[in-house]
């Protein structure tokens, strides 16, 4: 319930409306019930007083007109007065008591006649003394009449009216008339009940109306929310319905305007990005034809270099080397543009990582020897099989090895292969110049070079590690780097054994302070 209130504007609006109107209705109902009750009482009281005056007068007349002289006749007369007074007025709502005033001289011989079922305790002594002192005026007091019916005690409002009555021969008496207001109470109860039921109905109706109205107002907002959700999910062409001139229509129009410009911007950006990717790809392809010509021509000259004078010969050699570098650069550019276009699919097969690493090491060994670096290979026992694209992983390892040789300063390079239950890894560690923390952060950036001032010898393209990272991500693996200035660097490639499976623990630990790029481990 609370969750509904928190989540739904409509539920909140309806609940608030119902709560506020309930309070108002309770106050209003209370006031109505009070004033109706008062009105009923006042009307009844007026009637009661009028009746009482008539009754008192009647009683006075009876006694005044009587000529009884003996006590028995007087008692009979007094007894007859009570039912006579009872009988008049609204049926069953008036009881009578004729009480002798206390404190008179002379013994009380006569009985005070009292209507049956009337409890004289209802007539309080205080009221009686007020009546006695009233010098003939009719007085009243509100009382509670209790009634026992089938063992259940119910209490009804009543009025007791009193007046002194002088009875010849019998002394001062007081005549009390007790009126039962239960019919008024009933009327009031009925009115209250009606008010309650009516109020309840009104609250329900208000709730319903509030629900409808808020629903009517909230619906466009809801639709707008849904539509913006869809747009956020990539459906850029979804729009709101624009209808009418009201604020909802204004909302829809401005929302659509916003969505339009958003769509335009996104489409434009996507187009620009696609055009850029296309451009890189096209440029790379367009460059290939002239490069082929240059390469063929360069090769012809290079083959004939022995016939040239020394300066031309050296030129031919330099040109040959640079043409090769140009070609590699072009290849890398094309490769990265393919990744940018999302057009790369790995050719996954089961391979032995140890074998791939061994062959990569042996093919780069001549270069390592030339630079004075010894490559130490640490292979685990048994096969290190995993699912990967051997061409890409071979290239990746070759790239890590070439980096290690270039930055290794002729010190030994260690290549380790490791395996766990769900992953395989290869770690290439050199003891060369290493990298600072700042450099470490940028190591996978395109065309970034660790130290621009340092002379380059192996002629890397600057795209090597960027492509390596893309290759790693393509396999759902991770590429971690550790490096310290002048202590060397360590690159670790981790590949899941089965594509799409998460890697719980990576084989081959790296020292701390490691930059991790890619894959599940940091997601």
């Amino acid at each position: 319930m609370l969750r509904l209130l928190r989540r739904s504007v409509q539920a909140r609006a309806v609940a608030t409306t119902v709560a506020l109107s309930s309070v108002l209705l309770v106050v209003l109902g209370g006031f109505l019930s009070f004033s109706i009750g008062n009105g009923l009482f006042d009307a009844r009281l007026k009637q009661v007083l009028a009746e009482s005056e008539v009754a008192v007068l009647d009683a006075q007349n009876i006694f005044a007109a009587s000529s009884v002289s003996d006590e028995v006749a007087l008692q009979t007369l007094m007894n007859s007065v009570v039912p006579r007074l009872e009988a008049t007025g609204v049926a069953d709502s008036r009881r009578v008591a004729l009480l002798r005033s206390p404190g008179q001289t002379g013994a009380q011989i006569l009985q005070s006649p009292i209507s049956s079922g009337l409890d004289t305790a209802l007539i309080s002594p205080a009221f009686r003394s007020e009546v006695r002192a009233s010098s003939g005026r009719v007085l009243y007091q509100s009382i509670q009449l209790s009634q026992t019916e089938n063992g259940i005690v119910t209490s009804n409002p009543g009025i007791v009216v009193g007046s002194p009555l002088d009875i010849p021969l019998a002394g001062d008496h007081e005549l009390y008339l007790v009126f039962d207001l239960s019919s008024e109470q009933q009327t009031l109860s009925f009115v209250q009940q009606t008010l309650f039921i009516g109020g309840l109905a009104i609250i329900l109706i208000i709730g319903g109306v509030a629900y409808l109205v808020t629903g009517w107002i909230v619906r466009p907002v809801k639709v707008a929310a849904e539509v913006s959700e869809e747009i956020a999910d990539g459906a850029l062409d979804v729009r709101l319905l624009e209808k009418g001139e009201d604020v909802v229509a204004v909302l829809a129009r401005s929302f659509n305007k916003m969505a339009d410009s958003l769509e335009q911007k996104i489409t434009k950006l996507a187009t620009v990005s696609k055009m850029q990717q296309r451009f890189v790809s096209d440029v790379s392809h367009e460059l290939r034809t002239p490069l082929t010509t240059i390469k063929l021509a360069g090769d012809m000259i290079f083959e004939a270099r022995d016939d040239l004078d020394p300066q031309l010969r050296r030129s031919a050699e330099i040109m040959q080397g640079q043409i090769e570098r140009f070609e590699v650069l072009l290849q890398d550019l094309l490769e990265i543009s393919k990744y940018d276009a999302g057009a790369v699919l790995p050719e996954l097969e089961i391979h032995d990582l140890s074998q791939v690493v061994t062959s990569a090491v042996s093919s780069i060994e001549p270069l390592a020897r030339k630079r004075g670096s010894e490559i130490k290979l640490e292979l685990p026992d048994g096969e290190v099989v995993a699912e990967f694209d051997s061409r890409r992983i071979d290239r990746l390892i070759g790239n890590l090895l070439a980096n290690a040789i270039e930055h290794g300063e002729g010190k030994p390079i260690t290549v380790a292969v490791g395996v766990t239950s769900d992953a395989v890894a290869v770690r290439v560690t050199d003891q060369g110049v290493g990298m600072s923390e700042n450099e470490l952060e940028r190591v996978f950036d395109r065309f970034w070079r660790a130290d621009p001032a340092r002379k380059r010898t192996s002629g890397g393209t600057g795209l090597g590690l960027a492509i390596s990272l893309e290759d790693t991500l393509l396999h759902g693996g991770s590429l971690d780097v550790w490096a310290r200035p002048n202590q060397g660097a360590s690159f670790r490639l981790t590949l899941p054994k089965v594509q799409g499976e998460p890697v719980a623990t990576a084989p081959l630990p790296l020292p701390e302070k490691t930059t991790t790029a890619g894959s599940e481990s940091d997601e």
Binding site: T289, T292, T293, A297, M300, E327
Partner: protein
């Protein structure tokens, strides 16, 4: 007489440079600068091999390839800047025997050409394979006495398989024996040419009886 090579390429510099490389390697280069003239020059020059750029102004390389194939089985090697696109497969399906990706080494170019011009060697003059009779001297294939026209490459492929019937050849072995590749090459070459060959020699190419596919390994004859 030196083998005549027709170089069809719109890039003047490359065309001339390829010509220089070919001349230096003992070939006799002829030139064609666009697709529209390709067929008439081909017919007038009658080259031993065609080097064909895929992207040509006028008629594109694929169409030119098909037109030459309709006329003869002369070996066609395509030059392409994009190895990973559909162009390569389209070119092979149009009848090209092999392709070279730009930029290439001169040695690579001449090696590919030489591989395509190498004459067949066989100890036997006649090889029988099911309903087929391969006549090596006449360089023709007969099916129930009826001649089937095969390109030299297709003939070579069929002969390689037929000389050792029942033996399974992997795609890599076929690439080495038929195409002359020493290192790993594009296995699509084998797939496309086996399909082309089947469409000529099999009664039902979708249900081959003569050249069978061995799943996950390669192909075998019979």
């Amino acid at each position: 007489m030196n083998p005549k090579i027709l170089v069809i390429d719109d890039d003047n510099a490359l065309r001339e440079m390829v010509g220089i490389v070919l001349s230096a390697s003992g070939f006799d280069p002829k030139y064609c600068p666009d697709g529209n003239q390709a067929l008439s020059i081909f017919e007038s020059e009658q080259p031993d091999l065609v080097l064909l750029d895929v992207m040509l102004p006028g008629k594109n390389g694929i169409t030119v390839c098909q037109e030459i194939r309709n006329l003869s089985g002369t070996p066609i090697i395509m030059l392409t800047a994009k190895s990973d696109t559909n162009d390569v497969v389209l070119g092979l399906e149009a009848g090209a025997d092999d392709y070279i990706v730009k930029p290439f080494e001169p040695s690579e170019l001449t090696a590919r050409i030489k591989a395509r011009l190498r004459p067949l060697t066989s100890s036997e003059a006649i090889v029988n394979l099911g309903p087929l009779t391969l006549d090596l001297e006449g360089h023709q294939v007969l099916r129930d006495g009826e001649q089937i026209s095969l390109t030299p490459l297709e003939f070579n492929l069929l002969l390689t398989l037929a000389q050792k019937p029942k033996q399974v050849f992997t795609r890599e072995v076929l690439l080495e024996k038929v195409w002359g590749y020493q290192y790993k090459a594009d296995t699509r070459l084998v797939n496309v040419h086996v399909q082309r060959l089947r469409s000529k020699i099999e009664e039902d190419p979708d249900n081959p009886k003569i050249i069978k596919t061995v799943r996950g390994i390669g192909y075998r004859a019979g």
